[in-house]
């Protein structure tokens, strides 16, 4: 158990320090760690992301708390609680340190050619990172796998309809949480 806690601290500090691209980029790091240690399945993580998206608070923080909770839940409720706290604090600690350093040398950081050059490539790389995170969630949510070829047709249809609806300019103002609620309702009605 001590080993799991130490791994949790290490992995979440790594995420806070390296996940360029905000909360969605953190999701990719979570996918890496659950695959590496077998902590959760892709479907379980997709559920966690669903909860993280539909509750108040930053997605990255919500997902981190939930993953920390789930990883230690096998040792009982009290440890699970602690796991959530440990994961969250490990995620934010390196971020606070980085921001304090940046805030101290604000002008230097902003005008640094090195930083600007690095971010010239980091921005598109972060978009690729988030795309990879999304791809894993899509695969887990539509039961998509290529060998053997399998996809749930109803889920795929629902997915297509929702993407089109979300891209409609007229529906842009609708809060994303309402789409998630609609998905849940349809899931219950159709017994997905």
């Amino acid at each position: 158990m001590i080993k799991t806690i130490l791994l949790l601290i290490f992995e979440f500090m790594k995420t806070g320090l390296m996940a360029v691209g905000g909360g969605m980029a953190c999701i990719r790091f979570l996918q890496d760690m659950i695959a590496k240690y077998g902590w959760l399945t892709g479907e379980e993580l997709a559920n966690i992301i669903a909860v993280a998206e539909s509750t108040p608070g930053p997605i990255g923080v919500n997902a981190a708390t939930y993953v920390g909770y789930s990883v230690l839940s096998q040792y009982g409720q009290a440890w699970a609680l602690l796991g959530g706290v440990i994961a969250t604090l490990s995620l934010i600690a390196p971020q606070i340190a980085v921001i304090v350093l940046v805030a101290r040398g604000l002008e230097k950081y902003r005008s640094s050619k090195l930083v600007n050059d690095a971010f010239g490539a980091l921005r598109p790389a972060a978009a690729g990172l988030v795309a990879a995170a999304g791809w894993s969630v899509i695969k887990a949510s539509l039961s998509l796998s290529f060998v053997p070829f399998h996809v749930d047709p109803i889920s795929l249809a629902l997915y297509g309809v929702l993407v089109v609806l979300m891209l409609l300019p007229k529906l842009k103002k609708i809060h994303p949480v309402l789409f998630l609620a609609a998905g849940g309702l349809i899931g219950a009605l159709l017994s997905l």
Binding site: G22, P58, A80, A103, L122, G187, S191
Partner: protein
């Protein structure tokens, strides 16, 4: 300090769906209500928060907290943001652990997962539109995606390689 904590606790409690929804909240609380920052400062912190690793909301909070109360202020503001989400998620996780056995709950989650996949797709489309402006940035988006999904590269390495690549391209352009 207490005011700093409660202000960011409030922001963390009412924000929904990630860092980008935080900007209007920051404006209202910090500029209009508390008058701690100017509008320009908030915009500046927010854009810097996106150019630093990790959760954008935590980065923005630390910037403002640091400005108000140095290192301790940064820590206090960030802890404020995570307080309410930490409690809510813990409660939900504890409740769902038992509910997940029911078929109805599983069906609901199957539907919500599909909606999350759709939501992420839309987010990704917007993100790529913003990040990919020329052929080289398009190339980076595609190569990054393929390295992660097909090759199975660890995300940490992708970030390091991208940073190094950006610096090299910067040098080469100058020369």
């Amino acid at each position: 300090m207490l005011e700093l904590y409660t202000t960011f606790m409030k922001i963390g409690a009412v924000m929904f769906g990630g860092g980008y929804s935080m900007l209007p909240l920051l404006m209202r609380e910090l500029v209009d209500n508390k008058k701690w920052c100017t509008e320009e400062e908030v915009l500046d912190y927010f854009s810097l928060a996106q150019c630093t690793p990790g959760v954008i909301a935590i980065n923005s909070a630390t910037f403002v907290g640091y400005k108000r109360g140095k290192v301790l202020g940064g820590i206090v503001a960030s802890l404020g943001v995570v307080t309410v989400p930490l409690i809510i998620i813990t409660i939900i996780a504890a409740v769902l652990q038992n509910l997940m056995e029911y078929p109805l709950v599983q069906h609901i989650f199957a539907g919500v997962r599909v909606a999350v996949a759709a939501l992420m797709t839309v987010t990704i489309v917007r993100l790529i539109k913003k990040a990919a402006k020329d052929w080289i940035s398009w190339g980076i988006v595609i190569v990054a995606f393929l390295l992660l999904t097909v090759v199975g590269l660890d995300s940490v390495w992708l970030v390091l390689i991208a940073a190094a690549f950006g610096i090299l391209v910067g040098r080469w352009k100058k020369a």
